[in-house]
Symmetry: D3
Amino acid sequence: MPWQERPAGSTDIMWRYSENPIIRRDQIPTSNSIFNSAVVPFEDGYAGVFRCDNKAVQMNIFAGFSKNGIDWEIDHEPIVMQPGNTQMIQSDYKYDPRVVFIEDRYWITWCNGYHGPTIGIGYTFDFKTFYQCENAFLPFNRNGVLFPQKINGRYAMLSRPSDNGHTPFGDIYISYSPDMKYWGEHRCVMKVTPFEDSAWQSTKIGAGPIPILTDEGWLMLYHGVINTCNGFRYAMGAAILDKDQPEKVKYRTQPYLLAPQVAYEQVGDVPNVVFPCAALHDINQNRLCVYYGAADTVVAMAFGYLDEIVVFTKENSL
Amino acid sequence: MPWQERPAGSTDIMWRYSENPIIRRDQIPTSNSIFNSAVVPFEDGYAGVFRCDNKAVQMNIFAGFSKNGIDWEIDHEPIVMQPGNTQMIQSDYKYDPRVVFIEDRYWITWCNGYHGPTIGIGYTFDFKTFYQCENAFLPFNRNGVLFPQKINGRYAMLSRPSDNGHTPFGDIYISYSPDMKYWGEHRCVMKVTPFEDSAWQSTKIGAGPIPILTDEGWLMLYHGVINTCNGFRYAMGAAILDKDQPEKVKYRTQPYLLAPQVAYEQVGDVPNVVFPCAALHDINQNRLCVYYGAADTVVAMAFGYLDEIVVFTKENSL
Amino acid sequence: MPWQERPAGSTDIMWRYSENPIIRRDQIPTSNSIFNSAVVPFEDGYAGVFRCDNKAVQMNIFAGFSKNGIDWEIDHEPIVMQPGNTQMIQSDYKYDPRVVFIEDRYWITWCNGYHGPTIGIGYTFDFKTFYQCENAFLPFNRNGVLFPQKINGRYAMLSRPSDNGHTPFGDIYISYSPDMKYWGEHRCVMKVTPFEDSAWQSTKIGAGPIPILTDEGWLMLYHGVINTCNGFRYAMGAAILDKDQPEKVKYRTQPYLLAPQVAYEQVGDVPNVVFPCAALHDINQNRLCVYYGAADTVVAMAFGYLDEIVVFTKENSL
Amino acid sequence: MPWQERPAGSTDIMWRYSENPIIRRDQIPTSNSIFNSAVVPFEDGYAGVFRCDNKAVQMNIFAGFSKNGIDWEIDHEPIVMQPGNTQMIQSDYKYDPRVVFIEDRYWITWCNGYHGPTIGIGYTFDFKTFYQCENAFLPFNRNGVLFPQKINGRYAMLSRPSDNGHTPFGDIYISYSPDMKYWGEHRCVMKVTPFEDSAWQSTKIGAGPIPILTDEGWLMLYHGVINTCNGFRYAMGAAILDKDQPEKVKYRTQPYLLAPQVAYEQVGDVPNVVFPCAALHDINQNRLCVYYGAADTVVAMAFGYLDEIVVFTKENSL
Amino acid sequence: MPWQERPAGSTDIMWRYSENPIIRRDQIPTSNSIFNSAVVPFEDGYAGVFRCDNKAVQMNIFAGFSKNGIDWEIDHEPIVMQPGNTQMIQSDYKYDPRVVFIEDRYWITWCNGYHGPTIGIGYTFDFKTFYQCENAFLPFNRNGVLFPQKINGRYAMLSRPSDNGHTPFGDIYISYSPDMKYWGEHRCVMKVTPFEDSAWQSTKIGAGPIPILTDEGWLMLYHGVINTCNGFRYAMGAAILDKDQPEKVKYRTQPYLLAPQVAYEQVGDVPNVVFPCAALHDINQNRLCVYYGAADTVVAMAFGYLDEIVVFTKENSL
Amino acid sequence: MPWQERPAGSTDIMWRYSENPIIRRDQIPTSNSIFNSAVVPFEDGYAGVFRCDNKAVQMNIFAGFSKNGIDWEIDHEPIVMQPGNTQMIQSDYKYDPRVVFIEDRYWITWCNGYHGPTIGIGYTFDFKTFYQCENAFLPFNRNGVLFPQKINGRYAMLSRPSDNGHTPFGDIYISYSPDMKYWGEHRCVMKVTPFEDSAWQSTKIGAGPIPILTDEGWLMLYHGVINTCNGFRYAMGAAILDKDQPEKVKYRTQPYLLAPQVAYEQVGDVPNVVFPCAALHDINQNRLCVYYGAADTVVAMAFGYLDEIVVFTKENSL
């Protein structure tokens, strides 16, 4: 998996890839921007589902492949869905995908346009043929993120109920399903913080990459948003959720782990955005590589050591 | 069931009970207002679940009983819930209940406060002991209304996804459940109308009483809202939904059936509100009696002939 | 023309008709409300153009006739327009008409729905056949009011540029036309007042009846709006415009002449509205009879002596 | 002082005067409305300072006198101020006065227009000659209410920092002054309540009449506001503040004591307003008479027994 | 005229000038920024009207001259207007000019401050003496753009009715005039797109350079705006209007032609703005050179082949 | 004190330090950003109070020291306050400090979180031990700036009453105190300008560094804000206040002195911010060095000649 050591002299818990961004806004001919995308190990390399907004600024998801996780070949045509557990696969737009392998297949969730944004679900076995399932929830919702295994026998999904606009609020909930079709047992996981306690995550929050199981519980990277007088700023933090009852938050970073501080994060279609959507990790090597959208324009990577992130989360918890 | 003939000279499809309101705002000692409430036939009379806001303006639901459907004895203490299909019966507030008998028990839905409004579900066999189930959906939602029988083997519920405030938007959706715990197969049923076509229902709409099965399909009474320069005005209309696929709207009234035009509807805690939550009907006698909240302050009744309403809906459909 | 003497003991400059409202909300079978309407002397009685919102709350204008100006027969079908000086007679809605006789015909202006509200123009010779002309202006505009004679050889129209919503602003402008088709020479006539000076007209203002030529100049009755914490309140004032350059305001009432203070003005579809749209006057008898919409629901009348109003306007001018 | 016994059958803690309103909107010739006014015992009767908005809806305060506290003679001209402890007596408007006798004179506070609303201070010895002092605070502030005696040697004033509009927020603070000119030691006294706990006071609150010293501490009547979908509703509650440290709230009513439920409170220039500004009390007779503005249009009275109100506040405290 | 070939390897329909920006923000001593400006061939070179905001950020228009269309000499004093077809040449501010030669003179239109923004009209023969005419429309309006020849005997102007603020809406209309003084026959030309279809132009649109007559009809370049969570982003598209009835849109680009993607477009007084106001073209050489404001700070150029743009517009039409 | 001559060829009244920014965002290990900070001469060098937002984006103030005013050592822990003239030293956050030496000590004012932003006051003799006093005002207020000497025997403070959010309004007031505890004699000093006159300061204004006494009166540098369609832009201007009655504005710059035009001012956590908080000056050498926060991220310096600034302010006054 992609990796770079921490830069000399740095004490940061997470650090950027020196060759960021790894995916340019015009990597495919029709794209206005490519960002907020998801990758997973696949065969002897990696596969991914990429958010490419075309030059009409229509949002859609595209498959892509890479040998090293850094250099990507992205299809020039968006993913076409086959009916999965439903015939109703209407979709006005698709954006901000996540991907996870569970049991026998790769599940994809994304923000699906069905009379407003809600959580679309699909799956593939090969990243060539894709099947779309029933939407998980009623509108309005965003940032649906599956756990990589069933919990107490049910699929589990994080999401952020929202509204139909730019949504100046948003907390993280969890829901469960016996079958990826009907969902229930909705629980509030964690909410925005009081401004005084941790302003960077005081406006809205949303789950990012697929949670990673650690000895302390589920490591959930997420984005938090502060509402400055010149707009939203998106940064990344971490939380540890209880292994068996992930609606219980054990720890949660008061400081952010990564915030927009370099040009490709500060300048672009939406300035000041760090938006993590996927992560590769190697438990044995203790390595984490996070893929994040930068400025709603490009894809970048950041690295860290898993154990350091867990310790930091515990020691800097709200 | 309660009934009065159409007043002489009137050509209205629906008409008010001459002794309205039937429930005063101070009918129980602690109440600020009693409105938006639900009734059903029960034993040799009627039972109901009433929204009573107390003088702290806390919203809760109360059981009540009546011999004739007009004169009501409402409990002085709110309903206490036992765990039903869940131990999680948190509720910051309860309001706008609906009640329906399905199979073996009376199901109650209401707007339940769980980190914002969502749809609470409960049941009772006797209106003495009540059991609370898992919330149907994630917040934010209001106006959850069950169908009185399973459709294609699943429970079916109408609802209106919304936000956490006064919600200047809102359309009617339907969701299905195999077990009253997990919900899915969400479909948009009908949306607000263009202002030019039918302004009274151009801001938001929400299902009212339990739908009534007629030869034409499900008769769904609903409220529609116009946003005047001095606030919202709530009125009542009707739609006919397909019997087997109720997400299909066959007919929908362009004109309203009842709008605020008398003092107890025009003046009160929230002026200009007609908000139907329940209906009694007698297919054989062709009679319909709608209970509606007036001005968010009291409960009133209106009458009509079922077949006339169906014909009117068909002939005045959008 | 309709008339009642000032009530004994009253010192009001204008007073209400004792039998108000003169037109009920349900005066025709399909109407939700009838208000903001215009009347003129016609043949041996009076004719009028009435705003009737139907029970779908669609806005349209209807012709009506009266022998005495008080008891009105209103057509049950809305006015159908023939092409006048244009083939483009699209109209999504019509509301708030004014009527005036100039030269050889009755001109009608109204708020016309063409991709938003603008000023529609039409004419009739007999109140049976109506001809629609080019809209006077681009959207968004409301309250177009013609002067009853050409000024310096051109038609003159007051209007209030606005937006597409409930418009929390609005000033009165004048425009001129050589031919009722092309308009120009737009001038600002008068603006809202500072809150401290005359709060009742500090949010928006709009011309009401056709201006009346007096020795002092054009008497323009208008509505003014205050934005209270519970919505807009519409009241009526008067201004005197220069005879030859009506964009020059000679006098303007600091106090209102009539504000919502009785039930039919305070309670209705839009509470607290007095909205004058027409006036009959008799210079010889010094009498003025104003027709105004009350609470966006009904039509009412108020009376006054022309010379008293002019004197009051001069002596209480801002 | 004015008094009526509790109506037979009532269990209300406070009840309305049967002849309400006691002051009509047109009690003086120029007034649009008279409301939110203050009264005190004076000589062998009562004096008051009345908010009269004139027919230009300019806000000002007027002196008035009464033998019985019910029938009032209000001056036809507003109060003219002489310089008190300052030459700067600019005032764009004056509204919502309170009056209290301290030491040797009657102090008046009001909402004073100085580049926005702030708290004006004045005094009189005879209700004929009035002196204006420095404004207590910077804008923006409303509802300044003095305590009737010094506390720890300093004058004490409650107020509600706000903004320059209709202010959808507002909590009660206290400030102290050695000399009625310079103010400091600002403390937060009490804030709005969570919606779930007591919705009627969840949007903004403000002190009402001069606090009354009881055995339990200072009895502070106040108004609370709920933001309904059709605007603000103002009701009245009570709190008990610590005698020596009035920034400490000992008790505070969860239910309201009086809310808009009769026509003159529900219908008027601003519907649904009960706004207390003054109270007469007789410790020996255990009587309280509250004067409140109703619907921003008229003045009304309500009665209660002091000890019952104190007990109710303790037993129904948040 | 200015020209550069398409960069090697590029497939873009339009490409930027390599030496952009061509006009710096401080090109004249008093300027805060120079942008959104218009140029035309003049004598043996080019003349232009430039929007220069001074360091008080007052908006005004300045004349300028160039031999090659790239290097500009801009007057240090704003244009002074002489009365043209009116004495009323009041102007609180002038911005976003367009220039076109019709018949015998150069006509200038701009956003003119007259109680809010409206469309100012002026003309010059020599770019030394300028004459101001009647404003075309009532406020509020922006982006008035004349056609370069009469259509059916009348002058024709595109414009965008708006409001007095930052205007989160706006469609393109056309109006006609026999004499550049009175305007009428207003028609809606094209509206914003549904978000799903072409988000970059879903918030507001406005005409840019003077339309160019091609074999397919009028080529109208325009700006479209998307409302991101961090503000508006302005990009450029193209439409083909019917030659004789330009209110009929034949084709309209679903993708944009140019959007903010380089530093001088992404960073400045208003980030992320590409705002075309003028174009030079050479039909014989098939060349187009567009002048656009970048980030509301500087002026830049982009090039394209006319026939390619027309084909692209046809083949990528909504 | 720090100084650089005006760059060759420049005619600017104020110019930037060539090595800007002088303080990086990560100058201390925990900081997200360091900006809007204050410095004073201290012992044989300089001391300062710095706003450092940590990586939780909690706002606090830190002491720092420098030999040359350019290279700063900032403490790694925030300032801890001892009780000064009060025991109530609650502070939810501290930001935007100013520092001034008066009589015998260094006074610090800052925006202090006490149920919203208000003006905190503290002092130190040595920048090691700090004492906190009573807040000067009720919330909501920002930008409290003391004069460096008593005026007519009282301390004087500029401030900007505001609200609890991003505050789209704000004018500069002055208040006086005999004792740094009680404040009064509040006067409006200067307000925002009409958009047409000087748009850069038309939304809100606030005092910046400690005023400097010159022959013409108090030189007050301040920030002004324009509300662009993509957010606020903060720039710097100057005013001259009367020496003895500083509420009287003698001159005020119509143009700004410095506005965001270089990368570190245009890009950062809040783009387009120049926010002056402190200044060093040397009357004899006629030099001024202003410290300003740039983009809410770093600290920068700008220079100018005092006499040129005073002359410019007089000659370019509104």
